[in-house]
């Protein structure tokens, strides 16, 4: 893996035609809203440059992100991803284990120091010295800090590494944090989602390989091209929202008519992701199309924002006890106020009598 290794050579070796490679590049370019000429630039760059060295660290995670990527329905997509990068360490996918695996990471770090791309999935537990997740006896925290030192950039794949995700949810027993909570001196791009859309991962990787930098990011370090709009903005059920037509239950007339799922707790209006446009499983569908509201899985703290089925504009807390207590308190204070005023008035009357 240490010899100069271009994607072009690799493609030739694996027998992928230039036609299907261009098709991939065009798809990626259009996905990221780049001009048509960018597809050729991308193809050119990808073919000529040395394959990007990538170290992939999986921390406190469920492997859902990797599963999502590898189970992509488009047969060429995962292939393309793995063709255009040199995945030097990924403990779910690599054949090596134990000391051999770890030495592969150290070797890759040394060989491409300052140039490799670090991909992280999973959150990093920080409580109790980080003992809740270790790899080869090294805590996730230590491994991240060490590996990040030589990285050109870091991509946090999935909500866990982007925001802490489910491990971060209340009460967060392991003290799970996001990559950006620990690494402050490297460019970090978040590709949140539980899991993220595979094409989105592919797209941003292609961009990095082509242009040697991360695409434009928003205030939460997300690539703007995929995370600029809400699900709600792009949802095909949006016209029903605008007309005020809502499904009230999952099996009522409205649900059968495909009306808006806002009342059933859909988090589409506050969730920034590309699900409604790129969709899943090779563009087949996405949760709302399948009849279920958006969970907002690509948003920070999505697990702690009340029930998935609680509509957005409703209060989060159960306010009934507070309201009852405050009413009683008000009655008490109001009664006292009236009694004091009565006494005050009576005092004036008494003074007058003298």
């Amino acid at each position: 893996m240490n010899e100069p290794d271009t994607l072009g050579a690799s493609l030739t070796r694996t027998g992928i035609s230039r036609r299907s490679f261009l098709k991939f590049c065009t798809a990626m370019a259009s996905l990221m809203a780049l001009p048509p000429s960018a597809a050729y630039a991308m193809a050119d760059a990808l073919q000529r440059t040395q394959r990007q060295s990538v170290i992939w660290l999986s921390f406190q995670e469920c492997t859902g992100c990797v599963e999502s990527l590898t189970r992509s329905f488009d047969p060429t997509l995962e292939q393309m991803i793995f063709e255009m990068i040199s995945l030097d360490y990924q403990h779910t996918l690599q054949a090596a284990s134990g000391t051999a695996a770890e030495s592969a990471r150290e070797q890759a770090m040394k060989a491409s120091y300052g140039k490799y791309l670090l991909i992280v999935d999973g959150s990093i537990p920080t409580k109790d010295g980080g003992v809740y997740s270790t790899v080869a006896g090294i805590s996730n925290y230590d491994m991240l800090v060490e590996t990040a030192k030589g990285a050109a950039a870091i991509v946090s794949v999935g909500t866990c590494s982007s925001y802490g995700g489910i491990p971060h949810a209340n009460p967060n027993p392991t003290g799970a944090v996001a990559v950006t909570d620990i690494i402050k001196d490297k460019p970090v791009m978040n590709v949140p989602g539980c899991p993220p859309i595979p094409s989105v991962i592919a797209g941003v990787l292609a961009y990095f390989v082509t242009y040697g930098k991360l695409p434009e990011l928003d205030h939460l370090n997300r690539p703007k091209v995929f995370f600029a709009d809400t699900i709600h903005d792009r949802c095909y059920r949006r016209p029903f929202y605008d007309q005020g037509k809502f499904a009230k239950t999952f099996d009522d007339e409205g649900a059968r008519n495909g009306w808006c799922l806002y009342e059933l707790g859909c988090k589409g209006p506050t969730t920034y992701n590309a699900c409604a446009t790129i969709k899943w499983n090779g563009g087949v569908s996405f949760p709302i199309e399948s009849g279920h509201g958006c969970l907002g899985c690509s948003e920070p703290n999505f697990w702690d924002k009340g029930s998935f089925y609680q509509p957005l504009p409703t209060p989060l807390a159960d306010n009934a006890p507070v309201i009852a207590a405050a009413t009683l308190g008000g009655i008490a204070v109001g009664t006292v106020a009236a009694v004091v005023s009565r006494k005050h008035q009576a005092d004036i009357g008494t003074k007058e009598g003298k």
């Binding site: 809400t230 709600h232 903005d233 929202y241 605008d242 007309q243 005020g244 809502f246 806002y262 009342e263 209006p269 506050t270 920070p300 703290n301 702690d304 924002k305 009340g306 609680q310 509509p311 957005l312 504009p313 409703t314 209060p315 989060l316 807390a317 306010n319 507070v322 309201i323 207590a325 405050a326 009413t327 308190g329 008000g330 009655i331 204070v333 109001g334 009664t335 106020a337 009236a338 009694v339 005023s341 009565r342 008035q345």
Partner: protein, 217 residues
């Protein structure tokens, strides 16, 4: 905790608490003041029909007063109706009330809501202009009048911005909208917005007292 979580969580909880606390405080503080028995021989022995009558009939002016009050009343009616339509007809608002009370009712089409909201804002601006330019209203007005106006129009404006996704991200707009409701709830019991409850008490009181005397209401 992000802004929307703060708005939907602690901000609303506190606002509800202050709202009901202030409401019961103020109402009890008024209603429990002393009441004198009236020994005069009533012209009409039962006085409550007068209370009902005044509560209903004072909703529009007597014929004699119409020419001099028609403009102010019309604008007032427009924004009150607009508020009712927007507050109780918009589906997300109904969800809000359902989550609090368990009550549910059919919503109005959003187009109706948007038009009502725009008309309400326009009417509220006219109302403010009138308050600032009409010599009588200007003389009478104090902080309460202007602040109550502000806390009334703010939720309408923020709500309209939120549905139009104008000016900020939706979750921020929604949070600001909910926070503006919280502000409205907090101010409600302490200022003139309380008239929404007092109107029944005040009209009813006069109606009953005057019915007893047979006086004009």
């Amino acid at each position: 905790m992000d802004l929307l979580q703060f708005a939907r969580g602690p901000a609303l909880t506190w606002a509800f608490a202050i709202f009901v606390f202030g409401m019961s405080w103020r109402l009890l503080g008024i209603l429990l003041l002393k009441r004198r028995p009236d020994y005069s021989e009533p012209r009409h022995a039962t006085s409550w029909p007068g209370a009902i009558k005044l509560i209903i009939t004072r909703s529009w002016p007597r014929r004699e007063f119409r020419p001099r009050t028609v403009f102010g009343l019309s604008v007032g009616y427009i924004f009150h109706f607009g508020l009712v339509i927007v507050v109780f007809g918009f589906a997300p608002h109904i969800m809000f009330f359902r989550s609090l009370t368990g009550l549910d009712w059919p919503n109005l089409p959003n187009a109706v809501i948007y038009i009502s909201g725009a008309i309400t804002i326009a009417a509220l601006i006219i109302v403010l202009g009138r308050r600032l330019t009409n010599p009588v209203m200007r003389l009478l007005s104090n902080f309460d009048d202007y602040f109550s106006w502000f806390v009334t129009i703010t939720p309408v404006v923020t709500g309209m911005l939120a549905v139009a996704h104008l000016g900020a991200r939706y979750e921020t707009l929604l949070a600001v909208h909910i926070l503006s409701i919280a502000l409205l709830l907090v101010w409600f019991p302490f200022g003139k917005l309380m008239h929404s409850a007092l109107i029944f008490i005040s009209r009813g009181t006069t109606g009953a007292l005057f019915e007893r005397k047979g006086a004009s209401i």
